[in-house]
């Protein structure tokens, strides 16, 4: 189960998400649903063209992977996928860097805003402040 938020093929979405935030590979169905809901909500508030641009960008990543490795991005092993995306994140072309940055931001928003995930990191901020720590 995973989002295909920008209308890109599901395996491609899953591969990108788990490369950007590896913990998502072990996410529960509820966590996946929450991630998907958050990303959908964010995209719904942005310009209509953004979803289409993201979809095109993800397909472009896949096409580059096919050219370079002879396989779709989803079939690369995780270290190679990570290295591939890291290389693109350093691209001399701003639109490529921005695209990777935007994708990672969306995925991280879908993951790290989940209260259970925040708690698992040890994040405990709350209204009680100091009085809740005694």
């Amino acid at each position: 189960m995973a989002t295909n938020f920008p209308s890109a093929p599901l395996p491609l979405c899953q591969a990108l998400i788990s490369t950007l935030v590896p913990e998502t590979a072990g996410a529960t169905p509820e966590q996946w649903a929450e991630l998907e809901r958050t990303i959908e909500q964010v995209l719904a508030t942005r310009a209509p063209g953004l979803r289409r641009q993201l979809g095109i960008f993800m397909r472009l990543l896949d096409a580059v992977a096919r050219i370079r490795f002879g396989r779709p991005l989803a079939q690369l092993d995780p270290p190679r996928r990570e290295a591939f995306l890291e290389g693109l994140a350093r691209s001399p072309l701003l639109f490529i860097r921005r695209g990777i940055w935007g994708l990672r931001t969306l995925v991280m928003m879908g993951w790290y805003t989940q209260p259970g995930v925040a708690a698992s990191l040890g994040y405990r901020a709350g209204a009680g402040g100091w009085s809740a720590r005694s």
């Binding site: 701003l94 940055w101 931001t105 991280m108 805003t113 990191l121 040890g122 709350g126 209204a127």
Partner: protein
């Protein structure tokens, strides 16, 4: 469309609009009609849950992710009763005299601003936090700075009843920050000033505003609007624009008023900022206590300021460069992370400006100049020295490649943290101190308003927000906005009182 008539209409309710509203409240007591129009909602105390996504969506325009035109920087500003004073940390510094002198605005006297600032320091209960309320994140900054040879200073804060939730930037859940939503606006309303929320001002005409009052969306936070949803024409003898840098210049630009000064939108600055993280070998108190208690002012000497900070999991994740296992490992170290915010003191350039798109929405054009990137790199090196002096074992520096700098590399910071690694689109840069676009000055050739916020050629139209700044303030701006707004209100009172 319904037509309503007021003596004064104020657009915006943040540090500028809230201040003007309170200062003009005596007019309301004397029977004159004073109106505040706020685009965002009026939040209730129970709305402030501290949950990151929920509050960012409710409080910030574009969920805090409004991008500049080229997509290389996010701009954070709030919309709601109280404007961005809802989401600031309450750091209360008076305007630096050297900056006000550099602005060189005829009639703007640093001593006058200082006098007005003192009034709001007292009104907002500004004080230094007691040492026992400082968390490790802040204490380590002060200690590290001292060991590294710098003099950190403690921020005066405008708090009353702070419990140390650390959630200031998501709206205080304990009503402790003394923003205009807690002090000036309620005081103004008690004296008869009307505040209408969810009121979008579409355009300004000759002594009139075209306003659309929006319904509360289903499930939305905050109260219903005070007026029935729909279109209004608000006629007023005096109009004060205080919608902030993302509100006031775009409103003027899309309104099509004839013969407005050509400088509208020019002179945008924003203190571009990014977050640095230092990892300690043991847990520290970082997600409890006020998040921003100390700063290091190197603005005059090196064009940067360092401030303590502590952000929430997603904001932190976004601000760390990269992704994958190394990024995850740093996130798992959250209880051991110390954070420092790096702010560069930028200068106005012809390219950096506010414009509007075809639908009248604001668009910010911003290019990072070499002096700005150099300042951010200098700031990053200084912050790294402080982290290591405080005991951090590694530092995450966005302008290093690889970004994790180990303690063993502390003697190579000049090489490891370098301008050649500062690459937009890879580094998460944000700005919350948005300034300029309606700068004060001597006349329409060099500015939009005079030193009393009067728009050149339109004496009934005034500006009272950070868009008045002719250049970067080089410190946190809210008190300076209040002092300038106080002057604007004084001018209105002289005319109408």
């Amino acid at each position: 469309m319904t037509t309503v008539r007021y003596d004064v209409a104020i657009v915006g309710s943040g540090a500028g609009g809230g201040t003007v509203a309170q200062a003009l409240a005596p007019l309301a007591k004397d029977g004159k009609r004073v109106l505040v129009l706020e685009r965002g909602p009026r939040f209730r105390d129970q709305d402030f849950t501290g949950r990151e996504l929920e509050m960012a969506s409710a409080l910030y325009a574009g969920q805090g992710g409004t991008l500049t035109a080229d997509g290389t920087m996010t701009l954070a500003y709030a919309e709601g009763y109280g404007g961005s004073t809802i989401v600031y940390t309450g750091t209360s510094l008076p305007p630096p005299e050297r900056v006000i002198r550099r602005w060189n605005v005829p009639g703007l006297d640093p001593a006058d601003l200082a006098r007005r600032t003192r009034k709001y320091l007292a009104e907002n209960n500004v004080h230094l936090l007691a040492p026992e309320l400082l968390n490790d994140n802040n204490r380590l900054f002060a200690e590290g700075a001292e060991r590294a040879g710098y003099r950190a200073e403690q921020f005066p804060l405008n708090l009353k009843g702070c419990r140390g939730s650390s959630l200031c930037n998501l709206g205080c859940p304990n009503a402790a920050k003394q923003g205009t939503n807690r002090v000036q606006l309620p005081n103004a309303e008690r004296q008869g000033v009307e505040v209408v929320t969810r009121a979008l001002v579409r355009s300004v005409g000759e002594r009139a505003l075209d306003v659309l009052v929006l319904e509360r969306p289903p499930g939305g936070k905050g109260t219903d609007p005070e007026w029935k949803p729909g279109s209004y024409r608000v006629e007023a003898n005096t109009i004060v624009l205080a919608g902030g840098v993302m509100g006031t210049p775009p409103l003027l630009l899309r309104s099509g008023l004839a013969r407005l000064p050509k400088r509208i939108g020019a002179g945008f600055t924003c203190h571009p900022a990014h977050i640095l993280v230092g990892e300690h070998p043991h847990p520290i108190t970082n997600d409890v206590g006020h998040p921003k208690s100390f700063y290091l002012d190197r603005a005059e000497a090196e064009a940067f300021v360092l401030e303590t900070c502590m952000y929430f999991p997603f904001t932190t994740a976004k601000n760390l460069t990269g992704f994958g296992p190394s990024h995850s490992a740093l996130m798992r170290a959250f209880p051991r992370l110390q954070m420092i915010l790096v702010l560069a003191c930028d200068r106005p350039t012809p390219e950096n400006r506010i414009a509007v798109d075809r639908s009248g929405c604001p668009v910010v054009h911003y290019r990072f100049t070499q002096p700005v990137t150099q300042a951010m790199v200098r700031a990053t090196r200084t912050a790294a020295r402080i982290f290591f002096a405080a005991g951090a074992v590694r530092v995450h520096a966005p302008s290093a490649d690889p970004p994790l700098v180990e303690a063993s590399e502390a003697d190579r910071l000049e090489d490891r943290i370098h301008e050649r690694h500062f690459r937009t689109g890879t580094i998460s840069i944000s700005a919350a101190h948005l300034m300029g676009g309606c700068g004060m000055g001597s006349g329409p050739a060099d500015s939009v308003t005079d030193s009393w916020g009067r728009v050149h050629g339109r004496p009934w139209l005034r500006v009272a927000d950070a868009s008045l700044f002719p250049g970067a303030l080089e410190i946190n701006p809210y008190l300076t906005i209040m002092a300038l707004a106080d002057r604007v209100a004084e001018g209105v009172l002289k005319e109408l009182g």
